[in-house]
């Protein structure tokens, strides 16, 4: 069964980065986001971090947190669940 938060994050990634050749469902939950996998670069990462902070009212407070959160969609979802106000998460 798909996770509503992971699905929402995939849509946000595609929309925020204007990925024309990628559909949200193409993104694997455990595939690395940066470098391999989606092959996002550091500028994409900055754009995503700013988007997620705004969307979920979270704050990534260190480079270590940024590294962990952006490892994959699964780790991103786990990070957001841990730090965001539950009312801001998709039902």
């Amino acid at each position: 069964m798909s996770d509503p938060l992971s699905d929402h994050l995939k849509r946000l990634i595609v929309e925020t980065l204007r990925l024309e050749d990628v559909k949200p469902e193409d993104i694997q939950d455990d595939a690395p986001l940066i470098g391999s996998g989606l092959a996002l670069d550091s500028i994409d990462a900055v754009e995503l971090v700013l988007k997620f902070e705004k969307e979920f009212g979270i704050k990534i407070r260190s480079s270590e947190e940024a590294r962990q959160a952006l490892a994959s969609v699964s780790s991103l979802a786990a990070f957001i669940r841990q730090h965001a106000d539950p009312s801001r998460l998709p039902a």
Partner: protein, 304 residues
């Protein structure tokens, strides 16, 4: 697998301290010829840097460079380094505004968050310090950390808490540091000529060919909603630099992203033509001792 050597600036790790020490005790009439001889010795021991210097000088001079040209190129680099070391030693240094620097001056006096693009030309490194010298201004400098960055570390010390560094070869750190920098009113400065660690590059006309240049600064402008200013500082004597800068590139509310990037390309290209004109007059001041931006084919237009 061959272990890669950590990146570092040319020269011995004690070299900067040695130069600073000599500058304190030796009269310039003695020290300058010594530096000239030292530069010639360094040149002999740096075949790769010599080759890159020769390739670049052939383009900018329009002829095959001789040994004297290559020595002048190396010596210009050494002299720009000496200017920085003298600033670290506490000597006064000031910058005057060249033609076209009106927007830069207005920003410097008025402040506000901005992205500053610069190049490995002349004493451009000191521009960050000049800005840091303005009490109201904070600057985050995005650059590559190398083994012996004594000069940069000391400049940061000299300008106190107003200069900060974001190291581009530490990607995890960089993402977070850039985000933090963008959350402040500080300027973010980065070099726009070297291809290493450039996340986004595009083709531009430069020195007779289409060449790839980093274009990351304009993508960051879109992400952070900041204007862009490009600049270089050329030395004019021992204690003076002339600042050459682009007009300010501003984002327009509601403008489609593709259109903004088109304007950005035109903005960067115009400054490259401006830089090319400066380099024709001061060919030894672009410190291209690594492989310069390779041509990607196709005829180049004449600068206008």
């Amino acid at each position: 697998m061959q272990a890669s050597r950590p990146a570092r600036n040319p020269g011995p790790s004690w070299g900067y301290r040695f130069l600073r020490g000599c500058d304190r005790v030796l009269p310039e009439a003695v020290f300058r010829p010594v530096r000239g001889i030292g530069t010639a010795i360094a040149m002999v021991w740096m075949p790769e840097q010599r080759r890159h210097s020769r390739d670049y000088l052939a383009l900018v001079l329009g002829r095959r460079p001789g040994w004297r040209d290559i020595w002048r190129h190396f010596f210009a680099f050494e002299e720009a380094l000496m200017v920085k070391l003298r600033v670290i030693n506490g000597r006064p240094h000031r910058t005057v505004y060249g033609a076209g620097a009106e927007d830069f001056r207005a920003w410097l006096e008025g402040g506000g968050p901005v992205l500053l693009g610069t190049f490995h030309v002349g004493v451009s490194d000191l521009l960050g310090c000049q800005i840091g010298g303005y009490e109201a201004q904070q600057v985050y400098v995005v650059r590559r950390r190398v083994g012996n960055s004594h000069d940069i570390d000391k400049l940061a010390e000299r300008f106190g808490g107003r200069l900060h560094f974001v190291w581009v070869n530490e990607p995890g750190e960089m993402i977070f540091a850039l985000k933090e920098a963008a959350a402040t009113q500080a300027a973010i400065a980065m070099q726009c000529d070297r291809m290493e660690f450039a996340a986004r590059t595009e083709e531009f006309e430069f020195l007779g060919a289409r060449r790839r240049f980093p274009f990351t600064i304009y993508h960051l402008a879109l992400i952070f909603g900041r204007p862009v200013l490009l600049s270089v500082g050329l030395p004019d004597g021992r204690e003076l630099a002339v600042l050459h800068a682009s007009p300010r590139f501003d984002l327009r509310p509601g403008e489609p992203r593709g259109q903004t990037l088109e304007r950005a390309r035109a903005h960067f290209q115009a400054f490259l033509f401006q830089l090319e004109e400066l380099l024709v007059r001061h060919p030894y001041l672009w410190f291209n001792f690594t492989r310069m931006n390779p041509p990607v084919g196709g005829p180049a237009a004449t600068p206008t």
